[in-house]
């Protein structure tokens, strides 16, 4: 057991855990977060996705000691129910889920891609989502929501 300090969704947390513990378990069990979820424990499905250093990370395979001082953003860190992030708003408007268990992987991956490359093509977005699994197959609506968010961003960036 070791005292570890984590910055998650804009707040500092001190937890006492085995440093080898996967980040996911700390987020769920010590910080009470519900966004990242256990799917496979092998970085195969994306359900545990968080953003770290601007990149999507599979928190099920990342030991908490490897996080360091950098900010971790989970799905609940993007926006709140009262004020969802624009990509969350697009998913809400499109009803882009069924069970919704996979959403951390879908939403955070799409956001990270579009943050890095606001004019990413549909194909580039799709390829980036290759490591994300949705077994309800809400794919059509999810891709529609992502496109909606991307085009909103572009309009915002280049006002007519």
């Amino acid at each position: 057991m070791q005292q570890i300090t984590l910055r998650v969704n804009g707040r500092q947390h001190a937890v006492k855990v085995d440093p080898e513990t996967p980040l996911l378990f700390v987020l769920n069990d010590d910080l009470g977060l519900r966004g990242p979820r256990f799917g496979c424990g092998m970085a195969q499905c994306g359900a545990c996705t968080v953003i770290l250093r601007g990149q999507v990370v599979r928190s099920c395979v990342m030991p908490v000691r490897a996080v360091g001082d950098d900010e971790v953003t989970t799905l609940e860190g993007l926006g709140t129910p009262e004020k969802p992030h624009p990509i969350q708003q697009a998913f809400i408007e499109e009803g882009a889920a069924q069970c919704g268990y996979c959403l951390s992987g879908v939403i955070l991956t799409a956001k990270a891609v579009l943050d890095g490359k606001p004019d990413a093509s549909d194909e580039e977005i799709r390829i980036a989502l290759g490591g994300v699994l949705c077994r309800c197959f809400a794919h059509t609506r999810m891709l529609r929501a992502i496109r909606k968010y991307a085009s909103g961003n572009r309009q915002h960036a280049n006002p007519a």
Binding site: F25, L75, L133
Partner: protein, 755 residues
């Protein structure tokens, strides 16, 4: 953050006004103490006018929570926000069995269950208002929780019964509001879980945490039938606080943290005695057909052998469907708190009351001391690991005397779930000179072991079997002659059959020389309902073979189907799909190119379970003749489920169903070696990920008048593999009779066709 305890406390406060029912002692159905014949079991009006409704049908992402909330709001004439729906909790909701089989809509949206309760409540409120205001009920109008008379005098629901019981039975004559009156039901209301889901606040069963909770893991055998020889508890002594729990062949560990529990599960030294070898996968379908079987005749006109003997040409074909998985994205999870002779289980089971019975049996507790509370898990698509993990969590919690949260590893989930059944279907049929099918004989062999545990069969899933309970036995025996009403036998009976039993013809089709014989045989793996259980298998075999008969008759696949159908509802969806897809009538004789990428279209249709929803699907695919890669590019679906509760939800279910069906048609297949399932993660069990280039999907909703509400979550998926198979034939001239349509299988068939 709201803790589980706060949640229960607030829930408990709400329940107090309600659970006076529990003081009234046990009632009739399945030992449930909540009498479904009493209005107060279903509905209450709070002192603030809030309508609290109880349902035994739960939401696992299919949208039934929102639809049921709409139903109650509609019947009670209140806005959606005034309704609080509580789903599936054995302490408060009526026993409605299992949420499965596309039965939630028939059960709760027609003239029984929740719909009847809500209609009874509205009429009761109107009756009370008439007394209070003086005058007759037909002079009153209800809106927004207020009843008013012609003179403008008003009384609120809360003033009439707020915080009190109705003390009324359900009234079978209570009238539903008519479809023309609907203002909430039938509208594309956004699903109520959206905001919480998209912002990461939604509470899944995987998110449930209770005070003093420990973490468990199971240690499953290395293969089917293996038994514990010995467990070396000392092998995990270096992990602080670990407890090892062994009960016959059930082995589990409990620790303070998930991480420690995972370490302990991997490190625990268990010696296993291996079970019998598994039948080889490469010859598995032949193996199935050689096993002793329990036989069922769904229909038998008695003349098929004679008719086949007399036919000019008999077409025969064998279709094969592999084992497939539910493969939930989140592994199954439950939290159990078993202390002082009482148990509470937070579970994603589709069957809270049956699960309560099994937990009571496994723990040796009286039924009334066990409470099962439904909390939604990852999408299940049928019997995934939700029941098994609930039983395991309860056993672990009882052993350690503290609450235990248990979540399966990916391998625990995929090696031991109740798979979608493998089966073989054999057809023999003939087409007459007039182009009509004269005779169709059909036999199938279905692999079966275990199933839903129900109220008394723990051994139907792995947990129960490891704890020493047998799965439901399969007694081989010959079929009885069909009698009574036609049983569609999970769509084993093709929709083109007249389905005549003793002169009563319950089928939707024209074929009168007909036989359907099902052989149920013992499966080496657990099996259980997977979205469209056996219906998808049967529809694949039936609808592709129908296409073969069509090709033999040199007829158009739409016209050929229509000329063998008389049920107006299935005719309706076939015509609607063909029209929306701009289907060009032509004989099913593909123009075959030899190279490059070819394109084709196919159609398939289903009368789901014989009267529980109708769907027709046109698929357009391309096939690369060099690589064998099949790419669906467009689907056009027509769906008829009667009155639609929520068109947006229906479209979501239809789209998701088609794509799930596409994944199952193209890539999904369970594999095994001589001891164990080897497709136990997402590298070894294929599923189309989010990078797959998606086809376009158009959905036409067909809504005939004067029919009841049917299920809708399983109709479109049922016909997807068949529609794709028929489109591949149209594109290539090659008939694929085994799923999945992998490039290897497609290339092998193309080469064979060229030779």
């Amino acid at each position: 953050m709201q803790t589980r305890r706060d949640f229960l406390r607030s829930g408990g406060a709400l329940i107090v006004s309600f659970s006076a029912a529990s003081a009234q002692g046990p009632f009739d159905t399945h030992d449930s103490h909540i009498d479904p014949k009493k209005l107060d079991s279903w509905l209450a009006v709070g002192a603030d006018g809030t309508i609290t409704a109880h349902t035994g049908k739960c939401d696992f992402g299919q949208g039934i929570f929102t639809a049921q909330t709409q139903l109650v709001a509609e019947e009670l004439c209140v806005p959606l926000s005034r309704v609080k729906l509580i789903q599936c909790d054995t302490a408060v909701t009526p026993d409605q069995g299992t949420t499965s089989g596309s039965q939630s809509t028939p059960a709760n949206f027609n003239s029984q269950g929740l719909a009847l309760a809500a209609a009874t409540a509205r009429e009761a409120l109107l009756g009370l208002a008439a007394q209070k205001l003086g005058g007759s009920v037909d002079q009153l109008t209800a809106a927004d929780g207020v009843i008013a008379d012609a003179a403008g005098r008003r009384v609120t629901y809360a003033e009439l019964v707020g915080g009190r019981h109705f003390n009324l039975p359900l009234d079978a004559s209570a009238k539903r509001r008519s479809r023309e009156q609907w203002t909430v039901l039938g509208k594309p209301v956004p699903s109520l879980d959206r905001v919480a889901l998209m912002t990461g606040r939604f509470e899944f069963v995987q998110s449930v945490r209770v005070p003093r909770m420990l973490h468990g893991r199971v240690v499953r055998p290395p293969g089917m039938g293996a038994t514990v020889a010995s467990v070396d508890k000392g092998s995990v002594r270096d992990i602080p606080g670990v407890r090892v729990v062994v009960r016959k062949d059930f082995v589990g560990v409990v620790a303070e943290t998930q991480y420690q529990a995972g370490l302990a599960a991997r490190q625990l030294a268990v010696r296993w005695s291996p079970g019998p070898e598994l039948p080889a996968q490469r010859s598995f379908f032949e193996h199935l057909q050689r096993q002793p079987s329990r036989d069922t005749l769904s229909v038998d006109s008695g003349d098929v052998e004679r008719a086949l003997g007399a036919a000019a040409g008999v077409l025969r074909a064998q279709y094969r469907y592999p084992y497939q998985m539910h493969g939930s994205v989140g592994t199954s999870c439950a939290v159990a708190d078993v202390r002082a002779g009482r148990a509470t289980v937070w579970s994603a089971t589709q069957s809270v009351y049956p699960t309560r019975s099994i937990v009571a049996k496994l723990l040796g507790l009286p039924l009334q001391n066990v409470r099962v509370i439904y909390v939604r898990g990852s999408g299940c698509y049928g019997l995934n690991g939700a029941d098994a993990v609930s039983f395991d969590a309860a056993v672990l919690s009882q052993a350690v005397g503290r609450p235990v949260r248990l979540q399966f590893s990916r391998q625990d989930e995929m090696m031991w779930e109740n798979l979608g059944a493998a089966c073989v279907v054999e057809h023999r049929a003939a087409v007459g000179a007039d182009g009509q099918i004269t005779v169709w004989d059909r036999a199938d062999w279905v692999a079966s072991l275990g199933n839903r545990p129900g109220y008394d069969r723990p051994g139907n899933v792995i947990s129960g079997m490891l704890a020493g309970y047998e799965p439901e036995p399969l007694k081989p025996g010959p079929a009885k002659a069909p009698a009574g009403k036609l049983q569609n036998q999970s769509n084993a009976v093709p929709c083109y059959f007249a389905g005549c039993i003793d002169g009563n013809c319950g089928g939707g089709g024209m074929i009168r020389s007909e036989r359907v014989l099902t052989h149920t045989v013992r499966s080496p793996f657990f099996t259980g309902p997977l979205r469209s259980p056996l219906r998808i298998q049967n529809a694949f075999a039936n609808e592709c073979f129908m296409d073969e008969l069509c090709a033999q008759a040199k007829a158009d696949p739409v016209a050929f189907r229509l000329q063998h159908l008389h049920d107006p509802r299935i005719i309706g969806v076939v015509q609607a799909a063909a029209k929306a897809a701009a289907w060009e009538t032509r004989a099913a004789a593909p123009a075959v190119r030899k190279t490059g990428v070819v394109r084709g279209r196919g159609i398939a249709c289903v009368d789901y379970e014989g009267g529980n929803g109708y769907a027709a699907l046109v698929a357009e695919v391309t096939v690369n003749l060099e690589t064998g890669v099949v790419r669906p590019v467009r689907f056009v679906a027509a769906v008829d489920c009667g009155p639609i509760s929520n068109p947006d939800g229906l479209r979501n279910q239809t789209e998701g169903g088609i794509l799930q069906g596409m994944s199952r048609a193209l890539v999904e297949e369970v594999t095994w070696d001589n001891r164990r399932i080897t497709s136990a993660d997402w590298e070894t069990y294929n599923s189309l990920h989010l990078d797959y280039e998606m086809p376009t999907i158009e959905t036409v909703l067909v809504t005939p008048e004067g029919v009841p509400a049917n299920g809708a979550g399983e109709t479109a998926i049922t016909v997807t593999p068949a529609a794709i198979g028929n489109a591949i034939f149209d594109a290539t001239g090659v008939r694929l009779r085994e799923l999945p349509f992998t490039p290897e299988r497609v290339m092998a068939a193309i080469r064979e066709n060229r030779a």
